[in-house]
């Protein structure tokens, strides 16, 4: 849907009315957000009554930019997964009761969501997950283990993908649930990573009971529902504010360190050029109206991963033997207000950039098949019941 002048005027009028009846200076943040939801300015592209006005999605930015200028609260940052991924999934696949139950609390920041997809045995091959949900009289009984979950420690709900039928091929036996994380049997453990900190969590599910009313979409339709979530994950990555990252840091280090790092000048310049191009490339795609996140996003993903890894390698070379040291490996959980990590931590962290959110290898395969039209990978597990696929 493309944005017309009339759409923009409708949104502008709604924003000004919201600000007029709820002056930012004298309105409690929660009350402001509630009024914003009721005014249809939470997700302008959602239908009226569900926090939206039924307008083009591109107008979301317009709302938040104007409200930011006015000093209004913005609950999205602390609840990004719920705002960007859970909400659109619910809207597309949830029931009216589920919309009413979740959308408003999500926007008010009262209900935070995390994603329970990946498992130790299912990384790139997400459809191979093994967490089992078995029908019981009044709902489902779930057992399994999820991994690489951000914000599980502060979330109330998890987007859970589980296997409800192991006797059909892997994509067809999945079902999607909104799991209340306070349910007995849900255990959240920090997952310590090579930087020493724990940015992610493991979630163990032992005889967890989920009512059928928490199921999103039909039984065995979980893969399609999960795709809706992941499509929105890609837009979320796409719209994340981008800076020159390691290139900017390298440039600063180069300037500070003077004569002894002169030999690194070409690499500093090269990193800066790469960063500039990638930022330009990504912002062009974001601002290109009507462009849905397509396989070309894989170009950004591959590029930024490489830039970060090479860029922080360069930063280590710039600080020289100080790279022999490390700030601290003390275990700490990730928090929004943590201090900026130093380049050695960033260097270690950058190794994940070519793995998380789709490995560079998977991204290359996507580009080769969907952009260049090369033959698809052979799928040996395609028509095989999940229970008979080799795993390990």
């Amino acid at each position: 849907m493309s944005v017309t002048d009339q759409d923009a005027e409708t949104v502008d009028a709604a924003i000004e009315a919201l600000l007029l009846t709820n002056p930012v200076a004298t309105t409690e943040p929660r009350d402001f957000l509630a009024a914003q939801f009721d005014a249809g300015l939470a997700w302008v592209d959602f239908p009226k009554g569900n926090g939206g006005l039924g307008l083009p999605r591109e107008l979301r930015d317009r709302v938040f930019k104007r409200l930011e200028q006015a000093g209004a609260p913005d609950g999205r940052a602390a609840n990004r997964l719920a705002y960007s991924m859970a909400a659109p999934t619910l809207l597309a696949w949830g029931t009216r009761e589920q919309h009413e139950r979740h959308l408003r609390p999500i926007f008010l920041g009262e209900e935070r969501w995390c994603q329970l997809f990946s498992e130790p045995g299912a990384g790139s091959d997400l459809a191979a997950i093994g967490t089992r949900a078995v029908r019981v009289d009044d709902g489902w009984l779930v057992n399994g283990q999820k991994v690489w979950t951000s914000m599980a420690n502060v979330s109330q709900v998890g987007m859970l993908l589980a296997r409800t039928d192991p006797e059909v091929p892997k994509h067809r036996g999945l079902t999607y649930f909104a799991l209340d994380l306070s349910t007995p049997g849900v255990e959240v453990r920090p997952l310590r990573q090579m930087t020493g900190e724990a940015e992610f969590y493991e979630v163990y599910l032992t005889d967890v009971h989920i009512p059928d009313s928490a199921r999103i979409g039909q039984v065995s339709e979980g893969w399609k529902v999960a795709m809706a979530t992941l499509m929105n994950e890609r837009t979320m990555f796409g719209t994340k504010s981008m800076d020159l990252g390691p290139a900017e840091i390298a440039l600063q280090l180069y300037r500070e360190r003077g004569e002894r790092v002169r030999h690194l000048r070409p690499r500093v310049i090269d990193a800066w050029i790469q960063a500039r191009l990638l930022v330009s490339f990504a912002s062009r795609r974001v601002h290109n109206p009507g462009s849905s996140p397509g396989p070309e996003n894989s170009i950004s993903k591959i590029g930024f991963a490489l830039l970060n890894q090479r860029g922080y390698e360069l930063c280590l070379d710039l600080i020289g033997d100080e790279s022999l040291l490390y700030e601290s490996y003390a275990m700490r959980e990730y928090s929004l207000d943590a201090p900026e990590p130093d380049v050695r931590t960033r260097f270690l962290r950058s190794r994940a950039n070519s793995i998380e959110g789709g490995t560079t290898e998977i991204m290359r395969t996507i580009l080769a098949e969907r952009v260049l039209g090369l033959p698809a990978e052979p799928r040996v597990d395609k028509d095989v019941p999940y229970s008979r696929i080799p795993r390990g």
Binding site: I269, I273, F281, R284, I299, I302, L374
Partner: protein
């Protein structure tokens, strides 16, 4: 992309498919002139390519780099051997940047109509594309200037009606025009690595020259000309890289080994995906540079250098990858891969190597 741009692209592509198929490219590689005069005339008469970005006051149609960029991209795809690049990207820009309205009136209408082939002689025996590379001397006797020195790597000088020459006077770098067949200017075509581009060595032994612009004041205009030329070259490189990627993807779908299309092997797919990433980032660099020229921003030179460095590396990497993925056939004389590979190689050097341009970017960053 606006519809008119898409139409322009289709028009140029179709024209080049008809007028510059591979056998024709190969014929012209061995041809002394190195271009086809009837095709050159039709480029001007039928689609007005030479005058596309020349202002209407000087006989052109007054479009700009967004349109010109499309033309160069298509020329790069087709590998058309022609003095178009040096006439339009270098000579016309040198005149436009010279501030010499009289010279513009004298030369630009001829360029726009296709009657005049012009080139720029800049680099010398020591090589290089910054102003320090210019050592040729100009001296004045009465109203006439005379030039002395040697110019190298001059594109298509042997067919040029006029050669614009950078030379020094006591006042500094200046630009001069020497007409074809001027006594004292001898032009010798050198054997070039890329046979689709003719390069000449020019010996200047006191030919009479016309001063273009102000004596000693040509440095800025020349530097800008070289950067504008670099953006045009980057667009050509992008076009060549695109073509090589397409050709290789096609081949990977047609070629069978081990009972499979070779494009079904991940080793091949991933290499092609990396080539795609190179091409798309090169496109981004060209688009940014063209936009800054169109908007006349302060970042023209910076973006030009980013584009030249990026596209030089991308084209070379893609051409080398294409050669590799074609296997044995890609190494034969018969297959076109080497034509692109050689173009990609020589384009790295023309108007400044990637390292030269990265150095300029560094200078712009203050390091």
């Amino acid at each position: 992309m606006p519809t008119e741009h898409e139409e322009l692209r289709q028009t140029v592509r179709l024209f080049l498919q008809r007028q510059s198929p591979e056998p024709e490219v190969r014929r012209l590689m061995d041809d002394r002139a190195g271009y086809d005069a009837p095709v050159w005339a039709r480029m001007a008469e039928e689609i007005g390519l030479q005058g596309l970005a020349i202002p209407e006051d000087f006989g052109g149609s007054g479009f700009g780099y967004p349109e010109l960029g499309i033309v160069f991209e298509e020329l790069g795809r087709a590998l058309l051997p022609s003095p178009f690049f040096t006439t339009v990207a270098l000579a016309a820009n040198a005149l436009l940047e010279s501030g010499d309205r009289e010279a513009m009136l004298d030369y630009l209408p001829g360029i726009a109509s296709g009657e005049t082939i012009a080139t720029v002689a800049f680099s010398e025996d020591s090589g290089g594309w910054d102003l320090d590379a210019v050592h040729a001397r100009a001296s004045r006797s009465g109203e006439t200037w005379h030039l002395n020195g040697v110019k190298r790597y001059v594109l298509d000088a042997h067919v040029a009606d006029v050669v614009l020459i950078a030379a020094r006077t006591d006042a500094g770098i200046s630009l001069f025009a020497v007409e074809r067949d001027a006594p004292g200017m001898s032009i010798e075509v050198e054997a070039s690595l890329d046979q689709t581009r003719k390069l000449a060595r020019i010996t200047l032994d006191q030919p009479a020259a016309r001063l273009i612009g102000t004596e000693g004041d040509a440095g800025h205009g020349l530097r800008r000309t070289l950067r504008l030329g670099a953006v045009a070259l980057a667009a050509e490189q992008l076009g060549g890289a695109e073509r090589m990627l397409e050709m290789t993807v096609e081949y990977a779908k047609q070629r069978y080994q081990f009972g499979r299309q070779i494009g079904s092997f991940q080793a091949v797919k991933h290499k092609l995906a990396d080539m795609l990433v190179e091409v798309e980032l090169a496109r981004c660099a060209v688009t940014d540079a063209i936009r800054s020229i169109a908007d006349d921003t302060e970042e023209i030179e910076l973006n030009a250098s980013v584009a030249k460095a990026t596209c030089s590396d991308a084209y070379f990497a893609v051409a080398a990858g294409a050669l590799q993925l074609h296997g044995g056939i890609g190494f034969t004389w018969e297959h076109p891969a080497h034509l692109y590979f050689k173009r990609a190689t020589s384009d790295r050097f023309l108007l400044g190597t990637p390292d030269f341009h990265r150095d300029l970017v560094g200078a712009a960053l203050g390091i």
